[in-house]
């Protein structure tokens, strides 16, 4: 009798412990278990990124005059946002939209406006505030995808992606993201790669290069 009771209790305790473990695992998962995308190996990237002189392309579209951008639309990855102006932090790093509103994208005001000759720069968070950010799926873009930017003068500049790079942050300056270009171009930037939890920082940037195809 006693033996049976003990063994039954043992089974029950085991069950309770198993249930606890399952619940704990579930809680971690609900908290946003590892996104399938973050488990994927990083996309192939050039070992050495050498800024290449950019020559005129024959089908380049005429550049637009300066006009501040209002909003961005990337249909392929469902990214739509107004654009807030971004400048420089006191340490000369580029400002980013508030991480507490990760669905807000912004544009860098010291670069040309989208449609002008030169590299216009738009930044968005990959995540923040424990939510997915506006550029969570930025790395899914590929050559040929379209990006539209509405401007204050009523025009819409349409860009076509030419390449997508994943760049270690330590090599970002050598990537030449802000280098002069022959025509109107666009750079979309977010974070990517592994999240270094001790530094609370992603180790890579995702940079999408695009050129104006329609205005």
């Amino acid at each position: 009798m006693t033996t049976r009771f003990t063994s039954r209790r043992g089974v029950l305790i085991t069950l309770v412990i198993a249930l606890l473990a399952a619940l704990a695992a579930l809680a971690l998962t609900l908290g946003g278990g590892p996104e399938p995308s973050s488990a994927q190996p990083p996309p192939a990237r050039p070992v050495a990124v050498v800024p290449q002189p950019r020559s005129e392309t024959r089908d380049a579209v005429a550049a637009l005059p300066r006009s501040e951008p209002v909003s961005i639309d990337i249909p392929k990855i469902g990214a739509r946002s107004s654009l807030v102006p971004l400048g420089l932090n006191p340490d000369n790093t580029i400002q980013v939209p508030p991480v507490t509103t990760p669905l807000q994208a912004g544009w860098y005001t010291y670069a040309p406006t989208p449609g002008e000759v030169g590299p216009a720069v738009v930044l968005g968070h990959v995540d923040g505030n424990h939510q997915k950010g506006i550029f969570f799926r930025l790395k899914e873009l590929a050559a040929g995808d379209r990006v539209s930017i509405a401007r204050q003068d009523g025009t819409t500049a349409v860009f076509e992606v030419t390449k997508v790079h994943q760049v270690p942050k330590k090599d970002f300056e050598a990537e030449g993201v802000y280098d002069d270009t022959a025509g109107p171009e666009l750079r979309l930037i977010t974070c990517g790669g592994v999240f270094d939890r001790s530094a609370r920082n992603y180790v890579d940037n995702i940079v999408v290069y695009a050129r104006l195809v329609q205005a």
Partner: protein, 174 residues
Amino acid sequence: METKKLLAVAAVSGGLLLSAPAAFAATPAEHAGNPKAYLRVMPTAARPGAKVVIRLGCEAASTRDLASPVLKIGALRRVGPQSDPAKAPAAAASAIVQPAKPGVYRVSFSCGGVDLTAKFTVLGERPQVAKVPSGAPQTGGGPAEHGPLAAAGAMGVLAVGGGGLVLARRSWRR
């Protein structure tokens, strides 16, 4: 016929593009006919308005036609030893970069009937990005799964579960 015409037009416009400054073919600055002759521009790239120095060496009696479409070149003056048998007699001139579309342009001169050319790059008046930021953009708050909320949630489940276990054991003892 119509197609041929189109092709011809395409070929011609392609050729024009190739002859644009950016597509200037690399030309050795030394020439086989004058092995010691050379032509250099220092620095090799500058913005309009900048002053650069052209240096050349030529053994031949005549040095003529030092020219570039984007450089306003001052008078040539002899520099260094003029009778060193190991070196071509050198000359130098200063030049001002003229307003021009950014790109690669030719600098050339004639040394005893042999033409030498060098390349010179005109940079944009101003960098297109007026202030280049340092470092890399910090565009991520961290994946949601590692957030403190998720950790707190897991702890909560453990605590509640633990409490439940104690209660369960108590009830069995009764």
